[in-house]
Every structure is written in structure tokens, then in C-alpha cells.
Symmetry: C2
Subunit: 612 residues, 2 copies
């Protein structure tokens, strides 16, 4: 144990040195978990530092991302990189950022927004469980702070892991008592965490997190756990433990030591040699056996058929999954509405029921993505807002999740405003480089679902609740960033650019107007981000008024209209936005499109007002 | 008990009749809770139907909002409106929407996105506890579905209510076993819910939710509970209970009965007279004693001082709170960073520590708003995304919450991308009529905080981590929807419209350019939504290039730039957006502004490229 204590001292030293060097950061929140991490790296953590992609690696997630000084120190002292690099912490050219990001190659998930790591870990661990090439399942270790146990997502993950019997998931709760601005909800009452985790179906062990024998015993039991339950180590610790004037002391959150105090602290630690002190066990190299051929799909829809694009999602994903075995589908207990159930029926082992817990679902998907899978995440579009922060962090984690939000817009009808997806184009579109698509009918929906399996990054596809008429032949192509000009004549007064459900309205409007002698261009802007700037400019220049009307079943700010304006405004094209501008209501689809001012008759009026 | 059974039959009848009439809706999810609600309305629920604003009213929230047929039926059978109005359910002109909204006057909170009601109820109940005019505390009843117990927010609320000893909060969990697409996580294992709630510090009672004696006993105990803990009634029920072919049957989620089956069902119920069967006890009328004078503030900042706008928030809120006693402040355990701690120090009884649980915080604030309070909610801007769905629902609930997000943008520096608020203008701006403000310095921040206390609706103010120079005299006015022209000459080539931290960069750029003989207009667009269209048009028309450059520390889509473009594009003004276009990093403020392409030097370059 003396050996461990010495190693832990070296760990603590670098938690302090790196943050003092940086002039900011969280040394004391790092030091509380230093002993636990020392034992983990000394004996249990099995990892091929040369190959982070090795499926047989254990995984480690610092859900308390602000303990990054500890995180980086562990890898440095395991020989992953020169110890001196720790002095670059938080600098602009360093990969050792204030909170872990994928720039550091061992980062499983960007953390720093609290309470997300356990979900990512559960996703990784479940992916391992299902990976047939792994005869022995590696462990996923997640370090959580006590403060973040207040985040509901932690309890979503706790339920999820117990329900799915993810017994290779090991949570370590670092109960150091002190939050940022005051004591946490439960202080040092470790039984509060233990009781909750036990009630949620976990195997739980409470220890003194600074007693090396207890810590070792805990990892021993956790890695030999045969209960079938996930395992939690609840460690009572002290913030700043190991240094007399920091240990369990108030007002040290997020503060590095001034240089003179650092010197005092290092004197307390005594002489230490800066050298690699951990040698990780390297597992056998194992790669996935997934077949990942580019998927061929058969599209059964004919022009004029009535099909809901949400139905297309289910049947196409089931087809795509045959050639591309990396595809997995996750749903939040609405699979019979999003139609992900059709994928589940064919591939039950590649479907993950996440129940009504969207935050956990998004982060679990990030875990699957990190394991090399291609996760498709579906629920009502409106309920994807529940996971907005998780989407943001998954994006920072470079997780190529494909989101499919059904029940877009007021067109869903009678269920009313709470169920309407009116913000998701804005939500996903705000994140740079996320592909946002809104097909209006079945063939484009099918083709676009195929397209997004070809890209590495994140994508969002909105699907519709009501059926719409099939507009396209199955031979048509739908590249990301494209659009379709559906009507165009030399006499056109204005170009109406629609997306999703409003394409049908725009076509109706064109018919009505034509009877009155006014012709308009109609564009199906199925790709919102990126938007088809070239086509928008072309159609705008051809119409007599040099004007585009955008019309969409989305709130007026942040939607397709804003993408269109941003694309063409530098060229002096006038853009008039039609979109939803207030609370919607219960009613029929047609009543609600009309009430929102985006129905065919409103388009007709708007065109006439511009032509006058 | 026979009398209760007969009343419950009438309740069930109308759950079925109203949904069959509507052609959609959730009769069976309503019927599982019909007996519990019958007992509540028959004896316990104390409410002045003529005065929903009476502070002494009990409150009832259907967190499982899809059980709205039951919800409306209860009020109809209590005489709140003619029973026949139930036949208007889900129709465009009806206030009886698919999920409860404030159009129905007894709705405490719009529900329909699951798992939010307990938080709203906790907010209402805590507001009651703190209301001195209420000598006896009313009860807040929240009906939850078993499916929504998977939402983490429920557990955030559970922790919150136990921690704050909100003993007048009574949760009823309707364990009807069946979710939308399959059995819930725990089926009929009521002990799973009971164990969890007990571990979370609640008083819990498990009952047969269809045994009127047990239900009565539960409400008796809940309303006489002296434990100081919140109380949960876990009721084992059957979906569709009361009708042989619906009870506990699969595949009936969200489906109304066809007319012939409705007739069969009504025959099973036997003859029933449609009449008011509940007479609610009416409490004494009690109004708030809050003094709500328009707040005067003293602003201590002088032009040239360096002050962080986040500090302004704390000290100004403490001032505003003196004259306006309706103001309460909520924070997610970062009060020493957002500076809401300064309000807490003066008004500890009007501060609510929500710990690291942003979703619950937002919905608790909605509860306080419904009780007539003016809640200010603060955390890091980035972490407000955690509550995006709760913000959306609070907006649907017409809750006039004022959000203050600190640590906006890359300017926060070393903590890195996970802590940077780069999406919140988009998040809040997408919601129609939400006021979005981004002051650049202390005086405007102080004045704008005062302005938002004058409006009824929702508002969002971003504050900055770093100090900025005070630009304005304290006599200056800052109306919502306004802006300030900081530099303007006849020779100006282009107008640079900045907001927040970039105002300082724009001014620096102007100085640099002037030395090179180029003058520019500089506008401080402190009001993003609504944006100052008039001024933007004016400055654009005056500059030689008819061009506006927008520059902001926010992602390029959905931010101030898009508001600006939308405002002026119809008038042929060219707009060039400068904003953050990818992942940020750790680094110093200046390094990161430069890396993001929004520093003074980048503005200089952009102006030069346009002037050429």
C-alpha cells in the first residue's frame, strides 16, 4: 500500500502543478479522486494506449470533466505522453483542454456539462455486451462527482443500466462533499447515494476513498461482480485530500494554487521522482466484425401514393441495416409512432429501447458511436429538445449520430402544441456542420435516409405524421445540399421555397394561382443545412420580382427561412418568410396549417400581395 | 363507497364519450386514474372555481397530460362548465385541447412533454410554503404516469422536494403498467417506484388504485402527513379499468373507442345521469401581500470602469428585489459565478438553490410564475440548453420567467467549449415573442435587467464572464427593441453591428481602421429579439456600401446576425455575418475571439475586403 500512496502523491503533485501553471482549473476536485484512480491505473484498467480503437480496451469516462487535471495526469503517468506536456494544460495549442475533448485521443466523450458520462458509459458497455467478437467483456469505468448526482440524467442512466443488465459498467461516485458554491445536497452522507443506487437496481459498495485497501477491495469486487447488476463504488473523499490546508476546505473550488502555496504543498508531499509509475495491461487486439457495405434500398413507393415519411423511416432503416451492420436504432418508447419498430422487428439485437428518457438516449447513442456504431435516434421531434444539451455535447464529442424526429410541425393535428416539433431545425441547425433535412414525401425521405448513412457527422431528419403524396420517381437523386425545382415557367412572378409538409401547400397554391393567371416557381428545399444556395439564387434571378417566399411548418426564427435568407441576402435577393409565429392549438391538420398562416390559401394571398 | 363507484362510472363515461367524439385521444390512460381522481374531487380537493388566482386554492397538475379527457371531465363534473362542452375535446375552437394548456383556466402548467409536472408542482408548493399570507398551506397534487417515471427530471424534482421539505406536495403515480408501445420498465411492480421514492426521501404509500377505501385512506394520510416529507401515493391501476374489454388490455394506447364499442362500454357502465356530482370545498380568498412597485435602481458604474456584466446581474437584482417583492431567484449551484449570490445574501427567503439540476429549476420557476411571482433563473448560458424542453413548455404555459445565462460565448476562455454559451440566442429566439438581450457592458446590463421586470412575458439576458469597459452614462435609456449607434460619420464605408463582447472588438476595429483612413459605423445591438430594424435600416442606408457586418460571439446560425438579416433583407440591404463557425477550445479570451474569427483584427480584415 505504501507504493500506492507514493504513486498517488505523484498524481496529486501534477494535479496541482498543471493547474498552477495554467493559472486556472480544478486541482482540489481532482485530488479527491486521486487515490481511486491510482488503484484503477495500478492494477485494473486494461488499455492499449497505442490503439484507442481496440474494442477490447476498457474505457474510462470522467463524467466530472472538471477533474481533467487528474484525467490527463493518469495517462501521462501511464506513459501515454511526456509528463511535461501536463504543463500545457488549458493552453490554446494544447490537446489538454479545460474539460476533456476528443482532441485528447483517449477521451470517450467530451464532458464538462455534468451528469452525462454515465449514459455514455452505459452506451459503450451495452455495445460491448452485444459485440460478438468480444468473448470477454471489457469494463467501462465512469467517474462521477457527488454534485452531478443531482442531474436527472444520472438516474435515467441508472435505470437504463439496471434494466438492460449492463454488468460491465462500473460507476465511481467521488463524494467529496463540496460543490462549487456550497455543500452538495447530501454532504458526506454517502448512504444517501448508496440507498438511491440500490433502489435503482445497482450493486453498491461504500468505501473510504482514501483507504487504499478499501479502494482495492472495491475494484476487486466490482470486476468480479456476478450479480448481473451494474456496480457502483460510492467513495467518501475529501476535496483537496493529501494537502493539509486544502483537504476538505471551503472556497477552493476551481482555483489553482498560487505559486507560493504550491511550493508549500509540494514540500508536504516530499521528494518525488517524475516518472511513469503505471503500466497498463494491454488487451488482445479485437476489431468489429460488422459488415459495412454501402446499403442498397428498394423503394416501393409510386408517384401519387399517399405515404407518411415517418413510415418510410422504419422500413428504410430496416433495409439499410442489412448491408450496414454498424447501424443500431434507439427510441424513447414511441417506436410505433416513429416506426423504428420496423427496424426492431428485423434486428431486435440492434435495437435499444430507451423508454421515456431522451437525455440518456442521446448520450447512450454517443457511446455507441464511440464504439464504431452508426446510431439512429428517434422520437417525436418536439421531444428531441429534451436532449438539447446532450446533442450539443455529442456534437463536441464528434459523435456521428443520426437523429430522426417524427411529428414535425403543426401538421400533427389534434394532439396540440406540446407535441409539435417547431424548433428542431433551429436546435440542430445552430450546431455548425450538422446536416438538417426535411423531406416532403416518401421517395426523397428514403433516399435522404440512405444519404446520411454515407456521412460521418451528425445529421437530423424530420419526418411527418400525416401522409403526403409521393412526388418523385425512385430514379431521382437527392444529394445533401440539393433541392428540387417542382414548378418553373418563364412567366413566374415569385419563387416559393417550401420544405416538408408545406411543399404540398405550395403546389396547391401554384394550382390555384395558375387558374388566376399567375404562375410561380415552387422549390422543394429538402436540404435545410446545407441549403441549396445555387438553386435559390437561380430561381430568384429568373422570377420577375427577384423575390423568394419561404414557407415552413416551423417557428419563424431559426428555420429554413433563415438559412435561405443567409444564403442569398448578399446577392440582393428579397426573401419573405412564412412560418409559425405563435402558440398552436389542437385541431385538424388543415385547420392548423391555416391558423398558422402557412396553408395554400395563405401562400396564394402572399404571392398576390407581392405581385400587385 | 357505492356512491364513489357510481361517480367514477360517470367519470369513465365521459373519458370515453369525449374521445370518441374527438376521434382521437387517450381514454384508457384516463380511466386508470379515474378512481383516484374521483376520491380527490369528492372529498379532498379544495378549490375556488370562480377564482383560479386565489392563493389558498389547492392545485392539481396532470403531469401525464395525455390524460386530459379525465382532467377536463373532473372539472365538468364539479360544475366548472357544462358537461356537454366535453364533446368539443381537441377541436380547433375548444379550450379543451389534446393536452392541457393555459387556455383552460384551471391549467397550472401546459403538460404533454412528460416528466415536468412534479417540478412545477414543487415550485407551486414551495411558493405556498414561503407565502406569509397563507397561514394554512394548501396542497399541490400531481398526477404522474408510470411511463414518465423514467424521465430524469422526475428524480430531480423528487430530490428537490425532499431537500426543501416540501411536505404539502402530494404525488400520485398511476401505475397502469402499459406504455405506448410496450410494457413500462417495471410493469406492475409498484415496489420499484416505492423503493426509489423512499430512497429519495419521500413518504410513500402503495395502494390498489381501484379500491376506493384504499384510495380514501391514502388521501387521508397524505393530507395529514406530519413527517415533513413530500408524500407519494403509488397506485396500482389498470389502463382502461372499468370496461371488461379495455381493462389492462394491450394496443389501446391513445385510441378512442369506435362508436359501436363505445355503446357496448356504456352498456357495461349501466344507466348514469349526466349531472354535477362533485362539490369542491371553497377556501377563503387570499391574495399576495407582495409589494410590487416599479423598481428604482442606483447604478454605481462610471464610463471607463471595468465591470463584468455577470456581476451587474447580482447587484442589480438585489436592488430590484427591494421594491418588487414578487422577484425570486433560482440558481443551479453556480451562484458565485452567475452572481445570483448577491440576491441571496439580501433575500435568503426569496432565493431557491436548485443544485445541478437545470430541468427541474426551469419547471420550478414555472410553478413560481404561476403563483404570481417573477422568477429569475440563472446558470451558465450553456447549461440552459439542459432545460430546452422545459423552457419550451414554460413558454407554452405563458410563464414569464426571466432567464439570465452567464459565461456567454468563447470569451469565457480556458474552461473550454463545453462551458461556452453559443446557442442560447437561437434557443430562446426561436420561441415567438421571447425577449432576447445581450448587453455589452455594465450600464446597459443594469438598465435592461430593470426593463425586463416591466414585461409580463419571458425574457433572456446573456451576461459575460470577462470584464468590459463601461460605455454609457447612467442617464442613457435602453428600451427593449433598441440599439445604440456608437460611431457614425458621413464617410463611413460599412456598418458593423455587434452585440455583447464583440462591441468592444468592433470599437477597437474602428480605431484601427480610422488610422488607416477608413471610418465605420458601429452599432451596439443589445436587443436581439426584437431587433432594432429601424436603426439597422438607417445606418445601412447611410454607409457607402449599403452593407451591414454583424459580429457576435455565438454560432453563426440562429444568432443576432440572422435576426438582423431577417429585419433588413426585404429592403435590399446586404448583410455579412461574422460568428463562431466550429468547435472552440481552451485558451485566453483574446486568443479564442481571434480563433473564432470575431476579434477586432478579423473585423478590420472583413471591412477592408468589402471596401476594396
Amino acid at each position: 500500500m505504501n507504493d500506492l500512496l507514493e504513486k498517488a502523491k505523484l498524481v496529486r503533485k501534477w494535479c496541482m502543478v498543471s493547474t498552477t501553471e495554467a493559472g486556472s482549473g480544478h486541482p482540489t476536485s481532482s485530488m479527491s479522486a486521486a487515490d481511486v484512480m491510482t488503484v484503477l491505473f495500478d492494477k485494473y484498467f486494461t488499455y492499449d494506449l497505442k490503439n484507442p480503437q481496440n474494442l477490447a480496451n476498457d474505457r474510462l469516462i470522467f463524467s466530472k470533466g472538471h477533474a481533467s487535471p487528474l484525467y490527463y495526469t493518469m495517462y501521462a503517468l501511464a506513459g501515454a505522453f511526456p509528463i511535461d506536456e501536463l504543463k500545457t494544460l488549458r493552453k490554446i495549442n494544447s490537446r489538454l483542454e479545460g474539460h476533456p475533448t476528443p482532441e485528447f485521443p483517449y477521451t470517450e466523450a467530451a464532458t464538462g456539462s455534468l451528469g452525462q458520462g454515465l449514459s455514455v458509459g452505459a452506451g459503450l458497455a451495452l455495445a460491448m455486451q452485444r459485440e460478438k467478437t468480444l468473448t470477454q467483456k471489457p469494463f467501462v469505468y465512469v467517474l462521477l462527482g457527488d454534485g452531478e448526482m443531482a442531474e436527472g440524467q444520472v438516474w435515467e442512466a441508472a435505470n437504463f443500466a439496471a434494466y438492460h443488465k449492463i454488468s460491465n459498467l462500473i460507476a465511481i461516485v467521488d463524494v467529496n462533499r463540496l460543490g462549487q458554491s456550497q455543500e452538495t445536497m447530501f454532504g458526506h452522507h454517502t448512504e444517501e447515494y448508496a440507498n438511491r443506487l440500490t433502489a435503482f437496481g445497482w450493486e453498491v459498495m461504500v468505501i473510504d476513498g482514501h483507504d487504499m485497501a478499501q479502494v482495492t477491495d472495491a475494484f476487486e469486487k466490482a470486476t468480479k461482480n456476478t450479480s448481473g447488476k451494474p456496480f457502483a463504488i460510492v467513495a467518501k473523499t475529501e476535496k483537496g485530500h493529501g494537502i493539509s490546508f486544502l483537504a476538505n476546505a471551503d472556497s477552493w473550488h476551481g482555483k489553482p494554487l498560487p505559486k507560493d502555496m504550491l511550493e508549500k504543498a509540494l514540500q508536504e508531499l516530499g521528494p518525488l521522482e517524475d516518472k511513469q509509475v503505471f503500466t497498463l495491461r494491454v488487451p488482445q487486439t479485437i476489431a468489429t466484425a460488422d459488415k459495412r457495405a454501402e446499403a442498397m434500398i428498394t423503394i416501393p413507393y409510386k408517384v401519387g401514393d399517399s405515404v407518411a415519411t415517418r413510415e418510410v423511416y422504419g422500413s428504410m432503416l430496416a433495409q439499410l441495416g442489412k448491408e450496414n451492420e454498424s447501424i443500431v436504432a434507439l427510441d424513447a418508447e414511441v417506436k410505433n409512432s416513429t416506426y423504428s419498430i420496423d427496424f426492431m422487428k428485423v434486428f431486435p439485437d440492434r435495437f435499444v429501447e430507451c423508454f421515456i428518457a431522451e437525455q440518456n438516449m442521446v448520450s447512450v447513442a454517443a457511446g455507441f458511436a464511440r464504439f464504431g456504431k452508426t446510431p439512429f435516434v428517434s422520437t417525436f421531434a418536439a421531444f428531441l429538445t429534451r436532449g438539447a444539451d446532450q446533442v450539443r455535447m455529442a456534437w463536441l464529442s464528434q459523435a456521428g449520430i443520426k437523429f430522426v424526429g417524427s411529428h414535425a410541425g403543426v401538421s400533427i393535428g389534434e394532439d396540440g402544441a406540446s407535441q409539435m416539433g417547431l424548433e428542431e431545425v433551429s436546435l440542430f441547425g445552430t450546431l455548425p456542420d450538422v446536416v438538417v433535412l426535411q423531406p416532403s414525401e416518401a421517395v426523397s425521405a428514403a433516399k435522404l435516409l440512405q444519404e446520411i448513412t454515407k456521412i460521418r457527422g451528425m445529421a437530423y431528419v424530420q419526418t411527418l405524421r400525416p401522409k403526403t403524396k409521393v412526388l418523385y420517381e425512385t430514379t431521382e437523386e437527392f444529394p445533401i445540399g440539393g433541392s428540387k425545382v417542382l414548378r418553373q415557367k418563364d412567366t413566374d412572378a415569385v419563387a416559393v421555397v417550401a420544405t416538408g409538409i408545406t411543399v404540398e401547400e405550395a403546389l396547391k397554391a401554384a394550382d390555384i394561382l395558375e387558374k388566376e393567371g399567375i404562375t410561380i416557381t415552387v422549390v422543394d428545399a429538402y436540404s435545410i443545412s446545407p441549403i441549396d444556395k445555387k438553386t435559390l439564387l437561380e430561381v430568384a434571378q429568373k422570377v420577375k420580382t427577384n423575390t423568394i417566399i419561404t414557407v415552413e411548418d416551423h417557428f419563424i426564427h431559426g428555420g429554413m427561412g433563415d438559412f435561405a435568407i443567409a444564403a442569398v441576402s448578399e446577392n440582393g435577393v428579397k426573401v419573405v418568410k412564412m412560418a409559425v409565429i405563435g402558440h398552436s392549438h389542437s385541431g385538424t391538420k388543415d385547420e392548423l396549417l391555416d391558423r398558422a398562416g402557412i396553408s395554400a390559401s395563405h401562400i396564394v394571398e402572399k404571392v398576390k400581395s407581392l405581385v400587385k
